[in-house]
């Protein structure tokens, strides 16, 4: 089958207007939130499971690799097209199919935006807990693929702890159900191992997620500290009180400077670190624990502590943290965000090493991170127009990951391996460890035609279908 025939067949399945293939139109599908880029040969917008199944079956029979795409907010290259591949984009499959308040469950299509679901269910006093920073834009299908986290996963866990079941399309177009609406299912936990498989096992077309009741009270604390080390002792003090906050976030001096460049978030000029703590629960419990948190902040050396309970005031305290990544643009035009995780007790030491790396490579590094679960987000700031900079940034990024791994941590806490970190996988996993993982992929997708070339370093087991291009393909 040549390319024009293949396009015609795709159009036959989803309709002419739902296939994009002109080079100009494809440009916006070339990238996601990471630094990697590649043009897909075509992007298909199916409207339902049957169409997804037919598109994938056609691509499989034709030998074309496929990657699913939600909204392209991913930070590890997960949605970047494989060479000679097509994207199946879920823009049209964005319906919340069911909200079952009795059972605290929602059934959604993969293109539903994370925040749209949360907003919808809050009308019924419920919430969808996983809240990636991109939740205004990211899709639930993408959340499943990446097992996304967010600030509040400290208390509630990541996507995998909230997915009950799903309908997925496998690489040959067949449709199977994983998990169930009941909490316990028989057989291997395929839904569990599918979540976070970065689109290499199958493509989810319906997703059932668990909803939680909205807490009675929420209280936010903001502590200003002279430096990150002192703020880290506050984190330890809170944990030692037997408190697991809903969120525990930190930003460092350089980030504070960037935030203040853009708009006044109310941080003093000499602030060396800002610690944000959010408590949720029953009002009297939040009050009682809140007093302990406040005392712990002062005791460990906070120079200023602010608290807020009303939603608007809490939003105010969060505004600096939420706007931090965007504000980094006031320091440098580009940033490269590293997603390493370390045991919480290693935070201060590792941040010290990150500062060393910043000096060694002469790259400013701003830190915005989930302090509660040890998930660092060092942002390497640079200008890609300066020749050789990107190479130096990548080397510094690898050095940061090495520091994380040496401290007993790992490569990625919530962004996924994708293209970005696949060559670093051997820092954490042996060939044998990865071989066991690939056995599972081989069971779901024996021909490895779904999102090939991701996660594992090249050379371990490469995509057989990855390199094909069509004769007569428009360039």
């Amino acid at each position: 089958m040549d390319f024009s025939q293949f396009l015609k067949s795709l159009q036959g399945i989803v309709g002419e207007q739902n296939v994009v293939y002109h080079a100009d139109d494809l440009l916006v599908f070339e990238y996601d939130g990471s630094v990697d880029r590649r043009l897909p040969d075509a992007v298909v917008f199916p409207g339902n499971t049957q169409e997804v199944s037919q598109v994938i079956a056609l691509a499989y029979d034709t030998g074309v690799p496929v990657v699913g795409r939600g909204t392209g907010t991913g930070l590890s290259g997960g949605a970047i097209s494989p060479p000679g591949g097509i994207q199946v984009a879920f823009t049209r499959m964005n319906t919340i199919l069911e909200v079952d308040t009795e059972n605290r469950m929602a059934l959604v299509e993969p293109g539903v935006i994370n925040l749209h679901l949360d907003t919808r269910v809050r009308k019924d006093g419920l919430r969808y807990a996983p809240d990636p920073s991109s939740q205004k834009a990211c899709s639930l299908g993408g959340n499943i693929a990446e097992n996304s986290g967010g600030p509040h996963c400290l208390a509630y866990g990541t996507t995998t702890n909230h997915v009950l079941g799903m309908e997925v399309v496998l690489e040959d177009g067949s449709i199977v159900n994983l998990g169930s609406l009941a909490r316990e299912t028989v057989g291997y936990d395929l839904r569990g191992v599918f979540t976070g498989s970065e689109g290499t096992f199958g493509i989810a077309t319906k997703i059932a997620v668990r909803l939680l009741p909205v807490p009675e009270a929420v209280k936010t604390f903001l502590g200003i500290f002279p430096d990150v080390e002192t703020a880290c002792t506050a984190v330890s003090a809170v944990i030692e009180h037997g408190i697991v906050p809903a969120a525990l976030e930190m930003i460092d001096a350089l980030t504070i400077q960037a935030v203040q460049n853009v708009s006044d978030a109310g941080y003093p000029d000499d602030a060396g670190a800002v610690l944000l703590i959010e408590l949720e629960g029953l009002s009297d419990e939040v009050d009682e624990i809140g007093r302990e948190v406040e005392a712990a902040l002062w005791d460990t050396g906070a120079t200023l502590v602010k608290t807020a309970e009303a939603a608007e005031e809490r939003q105010q305290l969060w505004s600096g943290r939420n706007g931090a990544l965007g504000a980094l643009g006031s320091i440098a035009p580009n940033y490269f965000l590293v997603d390493g995780v370390v045991p919480r007790t290693q935070l201060a030491k590792v941040l010290g090493r990150v500062a060393d790396i910043s000096r060694e490579y002469d790259i400013p590094i701003a830190n915005v991170f989930h302090a509660g679960d040890g998930n660092l987000h060092p942002c390497l700031l640079f200008d890609e127009r300066k020749e050789g900079t990107l190479q130096r940034v990548m080397e510094a990024g690898t050095a940061v990951l090495q520091v994380c791994v040496d401290a007993g941590g790992t490569l990625t806490g919530e962004h996924g391996v994708g293209l970005e970190k696949k060559e670093q996988m051997p820092l954490v996993f042996s060939d044998d460890d990865m071989a066991a993982m690939i056995l599972v992929r081989d069971s779901f997708a024996p021909d490895n035609t779904l999102n090939p070339g991701k996660i594992f370093p090249d050379g371990i087991k490469q995509a057989a279908h990855g390199q094909r291009t069509f004769p007569g393909m428009p360039v």
Binding site: R183, G408, S443
Partner: protein, 456 residues
């Protein structure tokens, strides 16, 4: 004469790791040998050798759930992991712990207690149940409504494969998406994919206050509907359970033995348990408000139990299923959506076996219902029971559960019945993927052969 398997294993691994078979049996199959390795290399050598010899290996922790699953196709070697009982790493400030698979759950909790923490995993007979065994079964307990299943707390693993190679998945950090999450695959796989050697958990702090509400209702159905009300109130419990009168009587007997009066009389009523924990003041407030809700929903009486007594009662509920099973002909565990638990329970309550309706323990928050049918009359041996009525009862339960899109596994039945049924129930449409995973991880089918669903 050909030497015995024990002798050959002694030659391979050294005589000191071979134990007498004693009275160990798996579904009335007596294994040929019991091996208790002391280092990981011995597990590796055993699996490699068993693969080449096509001998079956049945990993074993405390043996408390060894009756779970289909009758094994073969039971050559029991692999006892009891010697792997060390706490490898525990950093209270990280709220994580790494432990060897053979440590009992109770010991692990004891070791974590000085740090003010615990792993939110529950198991009956936790003084014997091991970490590896609990993970292999993967089931929840009375507080699953808030804690979920063991899968939620497991963040890393070392597993010995049938190729004799140890692999790891996950890590020691609480948030991790590096590589596929094989932890999820191994948890609940009943030891059919590899031998769990080590596990890392995330932990929770122990709450300063805990309390239990114990309420009596005229019927199980009243108790369940009150439970649903409570679960959807602002004072939702950590977990709750409704039990039938027969189970209630067992509790009364056991607490009388412990000279505790629950103050609920010995009426023929259904008991409802709701567990709370947290800060002192908030917990007391919740107990008070919840008690008022239960009385408004028709409870005959509500008793508030606090502190160690509440934990003791929680322990009793956790341990109750195997105790009640001792007198049962058939035990099934049903899982449905939580909203369907009351209807499922009501429909199952009419299923009669040997003239008796089932006793029940139902969790209206998590959607789990255990059904216990007593043994027939004075018959002590389950062998003399006719299989057909039992098979019929199983079918009836599965018909009910199918209407609510749930599952129903047989946790206990006479061997004469077990050989004729699939204990795991109807197959999911993803069975082919599961079989493919099994074939790739264990190509010679040596690990727990036949015990899991679909012949896995």
């Amino acid at each position: 004469m050909e030497s015995s398997l024990s002798d050959r294993l002694a030659g391979l691994l050294g005589g000191s790791v071979i134990l007498p078979v004693g009275d160990i049996e798996i579904d009335e199959v007596t294994p040929q040998a019991v091996v208790r390795p002391v280092d990981r290399l011995q597990i590796s050598e055993l699996l490699l050798w068993a693969s080449s010899e096509h001998l079956s290996v049945l990993p074993r922790g405390g043996g408390t759930r060894s009756g779970l699953g289909n009758v094994p196709r073969k039971a050559d070697v029991i692999l006892d992991l009891g010697a792997f009982d060390q706490l490898i790493d525990y950093q209270p400030a990280d709220m994580t712990a790494t432990v060897e698979a053979g440590m009992t759950l109770a010991t692990l909790q004891e070791r974590l207690a000085p740090g003010g923490e615990f792993v939110p995993i529950e198991s009956a007979q936790h003084g014997r149940s091991t970490v590896g065994g609990v993970l292999a079964v993967g089931a929840g307990g009375p507080l699953s409504h808030s804690y979920g299943l063991p899968r939620e707390w497991l963040i890393g693993m070392s597993v010995m494969g049938t190729n004799g190679v140890s692999t790891k998945s996950g890590g020691k950090v609480v948030k991790n998406v590096t590589g596929y999450d094989l932890n999820k695959l191994y948890t609940g796989s009943l030891g059919t994919l590899g031998v769990i050697v080590e596990a890392t958990f995330k932990l929770l702090p122990v709450d300063p206050q805990s309390g239990m509400l114990l309420a009596s209702f005229p019927t199980l159905s009243d108790s369940l509907s009150a439970g649903r009300k409570l679960l959807h109130s602002s004072v939702s419990p950590m977990g709750c359970h409704s039990v039938t009168a027969g189970v209630s009587r067992k509790l009364q007997d056991s607490t009388q033995a412990a000279s505790q009066d629950l103050g609920l009389g010995d009426e023929d009523t259904s008991l409802f348990f709701a567990f709370y924990s947290g800060r002192s003041q908030a917990t007391r407030r919740r107990l008070e408000e919840a008690a008022a809700i239960l009385l408004a929903e028709g409870a005959n009486a509500v008793q508030r139990i606090e502190g160690p007594a509440a934990k003791g009662l929680l322990r009793w509920i956790t341990d109750a299923p195997p105790q009640i099973s001792d007198d049962a002909a058939l035990v099934m565990k049903v899982s449905v959506q939580s909203k369907s638990s009351a209807r499922t329970s009501a429909e199952c309550s009419d299923i009669v076996l040997f003239g008796e309706k089932p006793e029940q323990m139902a969790d209206p928050g998590f959607g789990t219902i255990r059904l216990f049918w007593p043994k027939y009359g004075d018959i002590q041996s389950t062998h003399s029971m006719e299989p057909q009525p039992i098979i019929d009862a199983i079918q009836q339960v599965r018909q009910v559960v199918a209407r609510y899109e749930g599952s129903a596994i047989v946790e206990q039945c006479p061997i004469t019945t077990k050989t004729q049924i699939e204990v795991w129930g109807d197959y999911p449409d993803s069975l082919a993927i599961m079989q493919s995973i099994k074939n790739r991880f264990d190509p010679n089918g040596i690990l727990n052969p036949g015990r899991f669903l679909g012949g896995i």
